[in-house]
Assembly symmetry: C2
């Protein structure tokens, strides 16, 4: 191994992807470094050559996954020239498949209360990501800040609550209710 100079980069990316999936599914405390490295196809010992601690990985993974997920939802991956498509974002984000979290899910929603319990560094990262989304959507739509914040709460909060709920019907009704608050009138 290690023949390729890119090899370490690829390993790092595999770890980050595995971490995003597992943290979203089980949270920080219930995800072991063992689990992550197994999912990435390696063993425990190799971990600390890529990240200095589990905490650092969590932070890196949060930033990485949130940006990927919003970028992916904001514009068609097959048409990278397209700009910010808010309608597409809302429908992708509030799609019934999102709270199921098969492929991981947005950490802004899946890990809200998990992050609220961590140290200031992680919370700062979360805050910065939220502010980035706020400014980006504001610039794209021209809506005032309060309206956009409310939209973000309906998206992130809606998915978070839908994921906790144990009843398919209620979950769909929740997502529909949020969609209806977002799509028709954009205030």
């Amino acid at each position: 191994m290690a023949w390729h100079p890119d090899h370490k980069q690829h390993s790092r990316k595999r770890i980050l992807n595995a971490a995003a999936t597992l943290f979203a599914r089980k949270g920080f405390d219930n995800t072991g470094i063992n689990d992550i490295m197994e999912e990435a196809g390696m063993t425990r010992g190799a971990f600390y050559h890529h990240f200095s601690s589990k905490r650092e990985l969590y932070q890196e993974s949060l930033r990485n996954a949130a940006i990927n997920r919003f970028r992916q939802a904001l514009q068609d991956p097959d048409d990278l020239q397209s700009g910010v498509d808010l309608k597409r974002l809302i429908e992708t984000y509030l799609d019934p498949s999102h709270p199921l979290g098969i492929d991981g899910g947005c950490p802004m929603a899946f890990l809200v209360t998990d992050i609220a319990q961590r140290d200031e560094t992680i919370r700062s990262t979360y805050t910065g990501l939220l502010q980035g989304m706020l400014h980006r959507v504001q610039a794209a739509t021209g809506s005032d800040q309060q309206a956009v914040l409310r939209q973000l709460v309906l998206m992130i909060g809606g998915v978070a609550i839908a994921r906790a709920v144990n009843n398919d019907e209620l979950r769909l009704q929740l997502l529909d209710a949020c969609k209806q608050g977002l799509l028709p009138t954009q205030e």
Copy 2:
């Protein structure tokens, strides 16, 4: 000790109150039975005479704390004859002091993603509590289900996100944005 037949009931209540506070602050995994029993003024060993497991306590504590918090916010504790006061609920729930969680905070918001990661029993309890709130508010206001669900997302999601955020200004703006979506026009 144990002279009073009510003594066990009092101990149980002390444990439940301590659990509500600590679970809200630190989540399930970072709250030890040790911590809870110390906060309640006892030691580890006594715990299992009141609850059969940490999981069972979590469930009991969730139900207990959610109902207390909503009952307290819905009607003036000094005037138990008053009915459901939605305006009061919204303002109490979205008060800037709530996300700080000094006295514990609503578990529906503080523990959303924590609960999403637990077993079906806990998620069923959460779902039932949410449905109870939905029906209660619907009956009190006559609004349609979708509108009430959206209101609940703005309240619960708003507090959950505000708690994760690390910036006083943004936190207040979030809470205000949610309040403005709830108070003026009740759709």
